[in-house]
């Protein structure tokens, strides 16, 4: 393309616009968010699972001679609590429970709730009505109250925390999945599949589910954060992990009384919660960008 002038108006405009478009393309590299989230989570998992290899001190060993030692002291990187137990090892070991809840409780409720929502949304009619009334009933109770009641029934323990969450948490997924399914049911691709004579189960699993799964998966990240906080809250109220098992929530509750003098007992476990929570948030945001580009 021959040019009469080196800098015609269109050339200048093009250069300016291209620089701007380049900027847009660069911000489109949001994968960074997803990668950071996964990295953070990876670090947390490695540190927590590999705790025995990383810390010498036992999380439950009492050391009455060295109570309330501040962080950065020799032998106790993050200090000790009122019984002389090493804070760092308690945080790493304590994370096992909360992480286990994040993965174990969330995945079960994700699957169960998704199935219920899919069935309710697809079949409609009285099945839908019945299932959604049950969902509504669950939603009518403040979440924490219901969990407390269930744990009061079953007795406070780590396993019962799982059970309580399994019983109550699936409803959010059911609602989301049902709404998605109801919309998806009317889409062209579903009508086409039915017209081809595909069985209902096949249509649900191989057509509707892959197209709607992104909503529940992204929500599961948010839910994971919620479950960790829930486990910590129950620990805080004395209804979760029982002493001497370390857990982030119970540690915060213990540290409450010493907050004025030894802030590290209550504060640091909370930071651990925030770290893992932010990791899940970033993963959720990153997934949202990848699975549904253009929504941001």
């Amino acid at each position: 393309m021959s040019q009469t002038w080196a800098t015609s108006p269109s050339e200048i405009l093009l250069k300016v616009a291209e620089r701007a478009a380049g900027r847009t393309r660069r911000t489109a590299r949001r994968r960074l968010v997803l990668i950071s989230g996964l990295t953070m989570l990876g670090i947390a998992i490695i540190a927590i699972v590999g705790a025995p290899l990383l810390v010498r001190a036992s999380p439950t060993a009492l050391d009455v001679l060295h109570p309330l030692v501040p962080p950065l002291s020799p032998g106790h990187l993050l200090g000790t609590d009122q019984y002389g137990r090493d804070n760092l090892s308690r945080i790493l070991y304590g994370g096992r429970i909360d992480l286990a809840i994040a993965f174990g409780a969330t995945s079960v409720t994700l699957v169960f709730g998704t199935v219920v929502g899919l069935v309710a949304g697809y079949f409609g009619g009285w099945i839908d009505n019945l299932l959604m009334r049950i969902v509504d009933l669950f939603f009518a109770f403040p979440f924490l109250v219901l969990i407390i009641a269930i744990i009061a029934m079953l007795g406070p323990s780590i396993f019962n925390m799982f059970v309580a969450i399994w019983i109550t948490s699936w409803v959010s997924y059911a609602r989301i999945m049902r709404a998605q399914t109801v919309v998806a049911k009317k889409q062209q691709y579903v009508l086409a599949a039915r017209a081809l004579g595909y069985g209902r189960l096949r249509v649900m699993l191989r057509h509707i589910l892959p197209n709607t799964a992104s909503a529940v998966i992204i929500f599961s990240m948010v839910d994971a954060i919620g479950n960790i906080i829930l486990a910590a809250s129950l620990g805080f109220l004395g209804l979760g992990a029982q002493p001497p098992t370390p857990e982030w929530g119970t540690m915060i509750s213990d540290g409450q009384n010493y907050i004025l003098s030894s802030w590290w007992i209550a504060t640091l476990p909370g930071l651990a919660i925030v770290f893992v929570g932010v990791a899940f948030s970033l993963i959720g945001d990153g997934l949202a960008d990848v699975l549904r580009p253009g929504d941001r």
């Binding site: 109250v145 009641a149 029934m153 504060t267 909370g270 925030v274």
Partner: protein, 316 residues
């Protein structure tokens, strides 16, 4: 055509729901192990006294009869008698309502004040400084457990800076505002995360709508376009989110009341569960549930009044 044409049907649903709630509350409680007589009498437990208490609580009758009696009493406005507080359960509960109610409303208002401007501006200037810093801030605060955040705020603002009181409800309206600021802020921050995100997404979507172009085309000021067209529509999506999360907020009060030593329903509930004070636990759980149902109804009505299309939908 009535905008609220759906309302009668919704009310019927509501009544059914309330019945379900009373049923669940009642039976859930009966399933909690532990002998109320034991809890009430403590060290002065004798078999004779325990039996007397069982009879007065009606525990010696079959369970369906108990439910019938419970519902009968309920319709006459009574929730039973609390042995622990030595007064009707209703009185005890009502005494604890003000702090919780104040806290809930305060948090809701604070949350709106924080999230509406931030969410709107974040949506208008995507990628701008407000948007980015808001997102970073709320991503971090969302991962904070409410009780931990409360403790941190207490530590910083009440202990070190001494700007706010450590605990208690205070007296007088201004007193309440002052004493409850930190707890309300704690709850509001958690609440705001979802609101900001929702409003931001809603604003972005609304800005792309063609009616915004029509409004601009008329030659009215940009401020008017933003106020009467963009905001007015963007905020609709948030009302639903607001309503749902307000319900979650109520459970948040349970934890926050603990940290800030507030004599509200949350404290009452936790204590009564360990005391096995059945009438009070039942009453509080029922009250919470009714409150949530009421909030949902209020949300629906607000939506219907803001958006004329809502009343037209059949079913839910």
């Amino acid at each position: 055509m009535s905008r609220f044409g759906n309302l009668p049907r919704r009310l019927v649903h509501l009544v059914v729901l309330l019945f379900g709630i009373t049923l669940v509350t009642f039976f859930l409680l009966r399933l909690i192990p532990g002998d109320p007589a034991l809890a009430i009498l403590g060290s002065s437990y004798t078999h004779a006294r325990a039996t007397a208490i069982d009879i007065s609580l009606g525990l010696n009758k079959p369970i369906w009869t108990q439910y019938g009696l419970f519902m009968d009493r309920l319709f006459h406005g009574s929730l039973g008698y609390s042995f622990f507080y030595n007064s009707p359960a209703t009185t005890v509960i009502l005494q604890h309502v003000p702090p919780t109610l104040f806290l809930v409303v305060y948090s809701a208002v604070l949350a709106a004040v924080i999230s509406l401007p931030l969410g709107f501006i974040s949506g208008l200037r995507r990628g701008g400084i407000v948007d980015q810093s808001t997102r970073v801030f709320f991503t971090i605060s969302f991962a904070m457990p409410a009780f931990w955040l409360g403790i941190i705020l207490l530590l910083v603002f009440s202990v070190h800076i001494q700007a706010f009181p450590i605990s208690g409800f205070g007296s007088g309206f201004i007193g309440h505002l002052y004493y409850l600021f930190l707890p309300a802020l704690t709850i509001a921050l958690g609440f705001s995360t979802v609101l900001v995100r929702s409003l931001r997404a809603s604003t972005i979507a609304t800005m792309q709508a063609e009616f915004v172009d029509t409004a601009r085309m008329k030659g009215i000021s940009r401020a008017r376009v933003l106020r009467r067209h963009v905001f007015r529509n963007a905020v609709l999506a948030v009302v639903a989110v607001y309503g749902v999360n307000l319900a979650y907020l109520i459970s948040g009060t349970v934890l926050v009341e603990n940290v800030f030593s507030l004599p509200g329903l949350g404290q009452l509930l936790v204590n009564s569960v360990s005391d096995r004070d059945y009438p009070v636990v039942q009453g509080v759980a029922l009250l919470f549930a009714v409150l949530i149902v009421a909030i949902n109804l209020l949300t629906d009505i607000t939506q219907a009044s803001l958006d004329p299309r809502v009343g037209q939908e059949i079913g839910e």
